[in-house]
């Protein structure tokens, strides 16, 4: 019998302690609730962010680059699907990561240490993005990996569009190439959404139109579980293919140009003089762009780098002394400054004396009496020494600039050279010396410091034969969206007019026609039977020499550059061809035949296979 029952006012000791317990328990629960509130309400956003960071991954989906078509719609650059092996660096780490890498090494037939080293190197560049371990997997390997997906957490097969160029090196300098972004560029372009797997356009049109060609990357948001396996795609934004280019270039002419230059180094620029569009822009030799896409081996790269023919250099856009082709400019200057009339004759006795210096004609026994047309036909140096001296460097350089020389043509390719038109100011700036009269004579025949690009000559000759309009060279006529609709069209752009009278152009053209068709013409090798061709040879000295030695006897790098620029038909010109053969020797024998072959093929509608 418990007597305490009747003594309820006074709590017994146990009840007192139980009250303490209630108090303490209440206090503990209060703290639990407080901490819960702190974690979920105050720090909720923070932890939610952590949770998302941990469980979501964003994968970028490469957008296919836009295609590049020639004027007939023949594909010059396109995409092929290829399989790449990607791993997630957040999962591939520690011993578990090593296990996965070991399995991958087995599947790929590589040694584990090699693969691991490659992985570690690639991871440094990729940061938190996916690390690509292998490109261009064959279908067997892909199948093997896909079948073992469960045992390879953090491993993914990407289907990537890979650039391919059906015409290989023949479109190398025109279309350019793409290659993978490097670490430095990635640092710079990373904030714009570039990743280590991206390609950048490096040269030619690929570089010039990189932004239009690139398209927009897609994004895929996935949930990744604790062992690194993708559980679910949360959201996906499809990639948008880049815009495609339609060129004015004719791939048949482009290939023809390359085939003509086979075995030599040089460039052929083919332009429609009526609006400045390019029909071919060839620089030989090139490199098959696929090497840039897939990567060079050290040996291949060394070979390309050491080649004296400089396959990486776009010679159509590089500057060289123009040789006698420049006489066209001198002739126009002479007529415009009224130094001579077309009928004025000058006697060439094989050399020209200026003070105590002797300037030789290329023909040591002289040309006799020559007028302007004859001088262009036989490419008489003495005639142009004489008129050059009278025109003076100021007017001559002014005329050269008005012809588009000494500045880039506006084609828009990266790396195009401006060339050089020397004058008094240039001499003073660079050499701190006054201009010598003798230098004017050298410039008048296209030697000395003068430098032009094959493309500039094509632009200049086009202007001469089309009535004096300088067109900016262009080669892209349309941009197409992925559905094939035209999003932009390009039109010819008149940069200006040559500051010459039509009469001047008439006589110059006559001289050019004579140079190909005249009995003593230097460019007879470019003659055609049914079409009248006009043109001008050029032989640019690479090394100054006292006596003229036949180029064939010189070492390759000291041989002259051979030039020939041609237009046809003379009555109504529709094509301008500039042939430049680096260290090719004499313009008339090394370059003119190529132009002739080209024009014959062009007018016969002959196409190389």
């Amino acid at each position: 019998m418990n007597y305490r029952l009747f003594n309820t006012e006074e709590p017994d000791p146990i009840e007192r302690r139980l009250r303490w317990v209630v108090f303490l328990v209440g206090l503990v629960f209060f703290f639990l609730l407080l901490k819960l509130f702190f974690l979920q309400i105050i720090k909720g956003a923070h932890y939610r962010k952590l949770a998302r960071k941990r469980s979501f991954r964003v994968f970028y989906l490469s957008a296919p680059r836009g295609n590049i078509y020639d004027r007939r719609g023949i594909l010059l650059a396109g995409n092929l699907p290829s399989f790449a092996l990607a791993v997630d660096p957040k999962v591939i780490r520690g011993t578990q990561g090593d296990e996965v890498l070991k399995r991958l090494a087995d599947l790929l037939g590589e040694s584990f240490p090699a693969l691991k080293q490659r992985y570690l190197l690639a991871r440094r560049e990729a940061g938190t993005n996916q690390v690509i371990l292998a490109f261009d997997l064959d279908r067997d390997t892909v199948a093997k990996i896909e079948a073992r997906r469960y045992f390879l957490p953090g491993v993914d097969i990407l289907v990537e569009p890979t650039r391919y160029y059906p015409f290989g090196q023949e479109t190398f300098h025109l279309v350019g190439y793409v290659s993978r972004i490097n670490a430095e560029e990635l640092k710079r372009l990373g904030p714009q959404g570039f990743t280590a797997e991206d390609f950048l356009g490096r040269a030619g049109l690929e570089a010039q139109f990189d932004r239009r060609l690139r398209g927009h990357k897609g994004r895929r948001l996935v949930e990744v579980d604790a062992s690194g396996r993708i559980r679910r795609v949360v959201a996906e934004e499809a990639p948008v293919m880049g815009e495609s280019l339609v060129l004015t270039v004719d791939i048949f002419l482009q290939r023809l140009a390359h085939q003509l230059l086979e075995g030599q180094a040089g460039a052929i620029v083919v332009m429609d003089p009526r609006d400045g569009r390019l029909l071919a822009l060839a620089s030989h030799p090139g490199v098959d762009p696929v090497y840039f896409v897939k990567g060079f081996s050290a040996k291949e790269w060394e070979k390309v780098r050491r080649d004296v023919k400089h396959p990486l250099l776009n010679k159509a856009l590089s500057a060289y002394p123009p040789g006698s082709t420049f006489k066209v400019v001198t002739a126009m200057a002479a007529l415009e400054k009224k130094v001579v009339t077309p009928a004025t004759t000058i006697y060439c006795k094989g050399y020209y004396r200026l003070g105590r210096r002797i300037f030789r004609c290329w023909r040591s026994w002289g040309h006799g009496e020559v007028n302007l047309v004859k001088a262009l036909e036989v490419s008489c140096d003495v005639y142009f020494y004489r008129v050059g001296e009278e025109v003076g460097i100021d007017y001559l350089s002014q005329m050269a600039r008005a012809c588009g020389l000494g500045r880039i043509t506006g084609l828009g390719f990266p790396g195009e050279k401006a060339g050089l038109v020397p004058d008094r100011a240039w001499k003073r700036r660079v050499f701190h010396e006054p201009w010598q009269k003798g230098e004017t004579l050298n410039v008048a025949i296209g030697q000395g410091a003068l430098k032009v690009t094959p493309l500039q000559l094509a632009k200049l000759l086009s202007a001469v034969v089309n009535g004096g309009v300088l067109y900016r060279p262009w080669c892209v006529i349309q941009l197409l969206n992925p559905y094939g609709e035209i999003v932009a069209e390009f039109n010819p752009h008149q940069e200006g007019k040559l500051p010459v009278h039509q009469r001047t152009l008439f006589y110059v053209k006559q001289g050019l026609v004579a140079a190909v068709n005249g009995k003593e013409g230097t460019g007879r090798a470019a003659r055609m039977e049914d079409v009248t061709v006009g043109g001008k040879t050029g032989t640019a000295q690479v090394v100054g020499m006292k006596k003229r030695i036949h180029s064939k006897k010189l070492p390759y790098l000291k041989r002259d550059h051979a030039w020939f620029m041609a237009f046809a038909p003379a009555e109504k010109p529709e094509i301008v061809v500039v042939v430049f053969v680096e260290h090719g020797g004499h313009g008339g024998s090394a370059a003119a035949p190529l132009a002739g072959q080209f024009l014959r093929a062009y007018f016969k509608g002959e196409h190389p296979s």
Partner: protein, 359 residues
Amino acid sequence: MRLGRTSLKIDPWLVFLVGALLVCGALNQASATMGGLLFKKQLIWFGLGLFLMGILALTDYQRLLTPRLIFAAYVVLLLVLLLLDLKHTRWLRVGGIGIQPSEFAKLVLVLVFALILGRRDQDRLDLRTFVVLTAFAIFPIALVAAGDLDQGGMLFLIYLSFLFLAGVPRRWVLVVILVMVLIGGLLGPKIWALLKPYQRARVEAFLNPEAFRLSRGYQILQALIAVGSGGLTGFGFKEGLSSRLNYLPEKHTDLAFAVWAEEWGFVGASLVILLFAALIYRLLRLAMEVREPLGRAVLSGVALMLFWEVFINIGGILHLLPVASVPLPFLSYGGSSVLVNLVAIGLALSISRRRYSFR
């Protein structure tokens, strides 16, 4: 002598609170185990536990909780624990069902302590009672702790609770705390060196989970992310990001509350905490009302046992305490835990029915 039949009524509060917690537990297991086999097993355990609870609630606890029966249970428990320790396992396998005797040890110890406490007259803890309590406590605690330190710790906490209920003089408490502080200060490094690596890791991980995020701190960090990312209303049933993607280890047992907090947010998590608080409060309240010493001691013991389980588990998940591997009553998966807790509630119900009755 009996005072009115109305007092034999089942306490509705206890039934309601336990029912609500069981509903939460079932929902949580449905999510944490993806509604698989374990979920079905857990439901069977719930059913069995409720059945036992009902029977116990209708039984007269004074006839059931005889000294003979309690001591028999105690002896059987000691034998089983000894056997398991010798076999180096925590599980007793009976016909394909794994039983965790360390769970049962809690209840048995509560009953033993209650029996001792109920049989003496002193208000304060005398030396004899202290010795008897300690003597009964030391074997099961040592045997359990040998295999499972966390559960051993739970038993020790229950032992301390009963010392408190028995009325430890304040001076003793002060002396013990002082001695502990002294020992800790002087021998701390040595004790630290004696700890097993996993025990050290647990403390280190508690102090700085970010630094060990991939190894020791992984569990606590993932638990914090899961709880914190729940926010106010949570991700929703079966939608928890950490739970669904397996970032939470032990999500159906030790970290079950993290799953709950992630999916139901602050609203759901605080509801469960309040339900537990209410349940424990109700048990303590009943203990105050009950005048019969054994019943009162059993009720207090059950309340404190639940309290320690809830506090150690949730406190660990909320990063107030180092993580210990103990189940959360009703929410964690585990047949033994469910049975023990429901049996304890059954006893509490039985006691509460007779709180105004006398022998």
